[in-house]
Amino acid sequence: MATDNYDVIIVGSGAGGGMSAYHLTKSGMKVLMLEAGRDYDPRVETPMFNINAEAPLRAVGTPDKPFGFYDATVDGGWQVPNEPYTVAEGSEPFIWWRPRMLGGRTNHWGRIALRFGPLDFKPHSRDGLGYDWPITYDDVAPWYDKTEKLIGVSGANAPQNLLNTPDSPPGCLMPNAPPRAFELFYERAFKAMNIPVIPMHVAVVTGQMEGRNTCLFATPCGRGCAIGANFQSTTVLLPPAMATGNLTITTNALVYEVDLTKDGKAKGVSYVDRKTGEHHSVTAKSVILAAGSGETARILLNSKSSKFPDGLCNTHGMVGRYLMDTVGLNVSGQFPHLEGLPPTNDDGQGTEHTYVPWWGYEKQKELGFPRGYHIEIGGGRQMPSMGLGGLVKEDLHLTGDALRQRLREKFGSTISFNGRGEMIPNDDCYCELDPVTKDKWGIPSLRFHWKWGESETNQAAHMVKTFTEVIEKLGGKPTGKVERDGRKAISKGGEMIHEIGTARMGHNDTDSVVNQYGQTWAVPNLFIMDGATMVSSPDKNPTLSIIALAWRSADNMATIAKQGAL
């Protein structure tokens, strides 16, 4: 490997790593990609159309496969064997989802692809809370356009002109599949409350798209997609990058340190091979970290030198700070009015066809919490799972034909309302190196600190209020006990798997770790191109923005490289 003359090493192969590799290899740069997990090929490994009866325990989640047997995640979940993390004493719970596979979390993600809006980039200017980004929506908009056209996003719609909920320009999005019965049903309740319901933006190819297969409108996206109809780094970004001849991928390479030259520039990285335990160092003209916000921070913090005794780029102590997640909360309801619906195929396009964007921007003062949430709503006649018995838990006496009949009636009559809200960064949420715990290879582990603010817990309480009101309007009843205390009902830190913001971007080297292009202030040939650079955590799911920002950063990096400035 020493004979290879790499222009850039990319650590990580998910949304950020995949996108930067795609752009830089196409720009003619020689790229070495290091992925901590194993090689993974969705074309042959995806359990398309398998039914639950074929899997152990009918495919329910277990500690080995927390999101169910068929979930795409390899060697991971809330715990990764041999790679512990800790949560500080006195902290609220924090959980950290990691896979160990090529393509990272893009293999199983929810495919919801919403743009951040103009207010999301300037939250402090709006209400004095949190921090502004050094860029505006207009800076990123062209990259959203390009990203949507490249990865394939559905959700085309007539312009809605809703505040802070950007419409994509014509030609960026494909049309969604039509709303399903339960979507037609709930829409009317929201409209009666003056709350909009609009097409969801989903990274699924729903129409004709050159070079891509169209969705089969069946079998869940979380398993991955053997025909590449949804966005995964492994099907959409890495194959064309490989085709340039400029990409080399090394898997099972767990990077733990950025190596520096004497004059303080990045000369490469060191990694341990997870299978053999051997340590290696590789060199290149520049380095991109895109290992995911937690792992990227861990690499920086473990890269200690005389110039950076507290970790690379961490002279001001900001690495690991401003850790954010999304506020999550669920209330489900059962609806007698949906009972007895004739059988209909609700498999759909893999995720919601419609959703509720945040509607309360102008009412935040009276609402008592400063930032909003959108609502992701699931339901319909989904493939039966082991949870099916829950439909008849109140009809315990039923057996035989009466039981069969009741199940037929109630199948598909529940709807789940999932709030996904903005979190404001706070001083109690961060990660650092654990002083004691190390991984199997002796590398210090991360220790997380977490505490939701009142902005989030009040928002969570409002979600419960909204969802129960909608359920009532639709003549339904919540399934199970409803927790109205936002502090108790809110998700755990990290649970939404949107952890971002540990190496944020800013205006200068005193307020941030990187500039608006992901270039670290401290080491000019070291870049960060994952969610770590995000300054705020809008309610919109981060993956689309991670890709768009990585593309924008990689484009800038390629320009700098051509100028010989690396």
Binding site: L57, T62, K65, L216, L396, R404
Partner: protein, 211 residues
């Protein structure tokens, strides 16, 4: 559910034991199409490992852990599963879909949720088995009918758990899909959305709700 002469549950583990217990040798017809046959239980050390964090997904392998239920418990499970979901019209009985085998797989599993369920199900099956073993048809039927009406929290916990496992296991099969009216999991070139009939049903509901 035949309470007259229970069909012997043909255990994939030990068919002979099941038949002997029931005492109706020669009537082994329960193992129809769709029964999951795992092969005989082998001697040696009990395997308690899970399937690991990287199992093969496209053609899942049999779960690796040893099964713990003995023939008598499987037989009780078959009778109870068929009390919950006996054959009806073209819909097969729970036992013919191998539900007792699935319950065995479940209670034998090394994962926390299943380990928690293990004593609930096993104790429940043992207690029920003792009642069924020497009972005549009428007493057998009464013993089963008493379960959902029980005021004993231990019995009710067993009933809820076993019934949930039976329903889940039954309706996650192709036969279950057919019975409940799940018509998805088929590739389509387009998703046309709900039919006019379905839309009309939804509209009726909304009208009734004043929406």
């Amino acid at each position: 559910m035949s309470t007259e002469t229970p069909e012997p549950y043909v255990s994939k583990i030990d068919r002979r034991t099941a038949l002997a217990w029931i005492g109706v040798v020669g009537a082994a017809t329960a193992a129809g199409a769709g029964v999951v046959v795992y092969g005989p239980k082998m001697g040696g050390d009990r395997i308690t490992r899970g399937y690991g964090t990287d199992p093969k997904l496209t053609k899942p392998e049999k779960a690796p852990w040893s099964r713990i239920m003995i023939a008598e418990q499987l037989q009780t499970a078959a009778i109870l599963a068929d009390f919950i979901l006996p054959a009806s019209g073209t819909a097969p009985s729970a036992s013919s879909l191998g539900i007792p085998d699935f319950v065995d797989e479940w209670v034998s599993a090394p994962y926390p949720d299943q380990v928690k369920d293990r004593p609930v199900v096993m104790n429940g099956l043992n207690a029920l088995g003792a009642k069924l073993r020497k009972a005549n048809a009428a007493d057998r039927a009464a013993a089963l009918a008493a379960l959902p009406a029980s005021t004993d929290p231990t019995v009710m916990a067993f009933w809820k758990k076993f019934r949930g496992l039976t329903i889940g296991a039954y309706y996650t099969t192709e036969a279950g899909f057919k019975d409940i009216g799940y018509i998805g999991n088929v590739p389509r070139t387009v998703d046309p959305g709900p039919s006019a009939e379905v839309k009309a049903h939804v509209q009726d509901a909304l009208t009734k709700l004043g929406l």
